[in-house]
């Protein structure tokens, strides 16, 4: 068998993001080592392992991402090479799986100290390969609808975890050892089969074409939901708001609807109903806080792996002023956000109503009433709700401004931005804790230093040549920026500190000041859009 195509393809796949991959792995390692030294529980380490694994698996999605084509598929130039289809399908899968398996196994062994038998290690490898097969099949346009893709991947991951748990468990639980292995192998085979079909269809040029009956069925079913009648578009700004809403605005509310429905559905299980509703509400809010920047942050492409918000000539040449374009985007973001808030509020109310355990909520409420009297407490809660809404929307808009800024900033500009962001995080994160904060710092100097090193490495890597291309760093950066943005403006954090440290006015003012500062990028939005549009 001729190994040359294998090596050539593998070289290309790894070469795409070589430096970014290495740096990301280094960042992950630094974080992992830091956590170990700090003595934090294994769950934190596992969380980091899981997130980075997801990141890497998405990097190895071997697709052509070009700003001009929001629809990504198997790289076209590879399709015409004289390589057999099964090789073309196999190599990216193996490459990604190999890297991931190595990463996971090494992490488990050296950073979490878990010794695994060969059988279990192989099971993990097979599970990863199975997942990669399915993931590649999805990313190679076997199914066009993104929701369907996500659903399939969710099911596949669930099955993989289930099978893995069955294999690793001592007591032949769940599917049983043999059942687990069988499921994994079946998943691997079927996943590879679909990936192979996806490549064939790409080769024949009809990947994602509206020809197959399945596709027609799915699209007609989907269009039943979204067959939108066009509203009256009175002006260019209205038209552009409509456009932004259709392309970006529906994402966040749909995500929230999905998650909230999930939360509510879990109440079917009796056990859930008796857990404190405060925890559930906390989870809902946390999800919202993580998801809402997605809606507000208007990545220019549906594919969030492409980090740069580029303005295509079509939109740049629309007869709209920069202010009007900015306004349209922000208006859409606001609309999208408010819809998300409505969903969240409804969910919270329903949870409180149907939960059997509202003790913590009740005690919080009585505490508040004791402090401020009933009218004062009600006002406080209302203010909190208002503040959360505004702050999370600001975080989203901040991310939008960021994506436009980074698209035009040279490396000096990027450094300025990151240093500023970092300083803001440091100021808001540590200063309110005052002396306690300093003591905390001193106690965990080494892990914090490592964490800082990881972050510094991360920032340094953003000057890399291939930052502009799809890169795990870019995705990581998005997540980090979102997290920072939300932390910076999250009044929940401040309010909690308020209640416990009892420095009401100072911290309230500080929170307001932070939100106002975060509005600077929003006010700068027309200028940022102008910079993108008129280079």
């Amino acid at each position: 068998m001729n190994m040359a195509p294998f090596t050539a393809l593998s070289w290309e796949i790894f070469g795409r993001n070589r430096s970014a991959l290495l740096v990301s792995a280094a960042v992950a390692a630094a974080l992992g080592i830091g956590i170990n030294i700090a003595g934090w529980p294994g769950k934190a380490s596992f969380l980091i392992l899981a997130s980075f694994s997801l990141l890497f698996s998405s990097t190895f999605g071997y697709v052509d991402l070009s700003p001009r084509n929001p629809r990504a598929g198997f790289p076209r130039h590879i399709l015409v090479l004289p390589v057999s289809t099964w090789t073309l399908a196999l190599v990216p899968i193996l490459a990604g799986a190999a890297f991931l398996t190595a990463f996971v196994l090494l992490w488990l062994r050296f950073l979490m100290g878990i010794q695994l038998r060969l059988v279990e290690q192989s099971a993990i490898a097979v599970a990863i390969i199975a997942f990669s097969c399915w993931q590649q099949a999805m990313s190679w346009e076997l199914i066009r609808l993104r929701l369907a893709k996500l659903a399939v991947l969710a099911v596949v991951s669930g099955l993989a975890c289930l099978s893995l748990a069955s294999v690793m468990s001592e007591d032949n639980l769940l599917l049983g050892r043999i059942g687990g292995v069988a499921t994994l192998l079946a998943m691997m085979a079927s996943g590879y089969f679909f990936a192979w079909i996806a490549v064939i269809r790409s080769r024949r040029g009809d990947a994602g074409e509206p020809g197959s009956p399945t596709k027609r069925l799915l699209t007609s079913w989907a269009s039943n939901f979204g067959s939108p009648r066009m509203p009256e578009l009175a002006s260019g700004t209205a038209a552009q708001t409509w456009y932004e809403w259709r392309v970006f605005g529906r994402l966040a509310p749909v995500c929230m609807l999905f998650f909230c429905t999930l939360f509510l559905l879990m109440h079917v299980f009796h056990g859930v109903r008796s857990t404190p509703s405060a925890i559930e509400i906390g989870l809902v809010l946390f999800t919202f806080v993580m998801v809402s920047p997605l809606g507000g942050s208007s990545y220019a492409w549906k594919n969030p792996q492409v980090p740069r918000a580029m303005m295509t000539p079509f939109f740049a040449a629309l007869p709209l002023d920069d202010v009007e374009l900015a306004f349209a985007k922000l208006r859409m973001a606001a609309r999208s956000h408010l819809l998300g808030v409505a969903i969240v509020l409804t969910t919270i109310v329903v949870i409180v109503l149907i939960s059997d355990n509202n003790r913590q909520i009740e005690s919080l409420w009585s505490n508040l009433r004791a402090q401020q009297g009933t009218p004062g407490a009600s006002i406080a809660v209302l203010l909190l709700a208002l503040f959360t809404t505004v702050a999370t929307w600001t975080a989203g808009a901040f991310l939008m401004a960021r994506s436009f800024y980074l698209a035009v900033a040279d490396w000096k500009g990027r450094w300025k931005y990151f240093v500023g962001l970092f300083a803001l995080l440091a100021a808001v994160g540590w200063l309110p804790l005052g002396r306690e904060g300093m003591e905390l710092l001193a106690a965990h100097a080494l892990p914090i230093a490592l964490a800082l090193l990881a972050v510094a490495l991360f920032f340094a890597s953003l000057s890399l040549r291939d930052y502009g291309r799809t890169s795990p760093l870019a995705a990581l950066h998005g997540v980090l920026a979102g997290f920072i943005a939300v932390t910076v403006v999250s009044p929940v954090l401040i309010w909690q500190l308020n209640l416990s440290a009892q420095h009401h006015w100072a911290l309230t003012c500080f929170a307001i000041a932070t939100v106002l500062c975060a509005m600077i990028p929003i006010l700068r939005m027309p200028a940022l859009i102008g910079m993108n549009r008129h280079r």
Binding site: P210, F314, A317, E324
Partner: protein, 303 residues
Amino acid sequence: MNSDTTNIVDIRNLSRHFGNKAALRDVTLQIPRGKVFGVVGENGAGKTTLIKHILGLLKAKQGSVSVFGMDPAQQPRRVLSRIGYLSEQPDYPEWMTVTQFTTYMAAFYETWDRRYAAELLDMMNVDPAKKIGELSKGQQARVGLCVAQAHRPELLLLDEPSSGLDPVARNEILSAVIRTVSNEGRSVLLSSHLLDEVERVSDHLVFFGAGNLLLSEPMEAVLSKHHQISVRHAGQLAWQKVPGAFNAIHANGEWQVFGYGEMDASIHGLRGLGAEILEQRLLSLNEAFIARSQSRLPFSEAA
């Protein structure tokens, strides 16, 4: 409609660099009303950069750009609402149907004529219920052309519109050009590689080479001044001394000398060098372009 005699586009001393590469060097160009300007040049010669400056997609860093008397980067809405633009690689939203797209675009232009738009779409045979992503490249170009004309723009800007299109679509584009310029006070800027088409419809030719504006002349002049003279001359021929000559090919004692300017002057010059005139003829735009591109003489000497 505004019918004063100032130029629609006024570009003065425009230069632009991308990194080390000079995309435009000291370009000065005016486009008056009611003319078709054909812009030709090799890939990378600066045509698209020029068009982007007119649209305000690039700011004029050196020199000035004025469209309808305004800076397009400063007042995008007022300038762009009077321009119809068809880009080289149209990137229309693929999820919209044709009807949705035309309704969406209609909202931006005050002068949008719904009936005219419907007429154009009908002429171009496009199914309005289809999504843009499902259309072929030629059909997408037709939709784009319809949208570019439906608001009756004062300036129609076509950037390599015919690349990769079938002959029917190409004909539609030429029709659009003629229709636009037939109306009083409207102009067209057509950048294309298809020199036959440029030759047919243009009033004025602009020739770019490596960022320089090599030639800016009425089409008639370009066609009547580019000539080729075949002569017989043994040994080396110092054709560079002939006024207007910019290129020459030599085979078997016969020379073909390409020149720009008065044919009689070239003939006289060649006779003076002792060459025997065999044949003389005017060049088509295609032949002139190729002869110029192959010329190793810098333009300033050949002028």
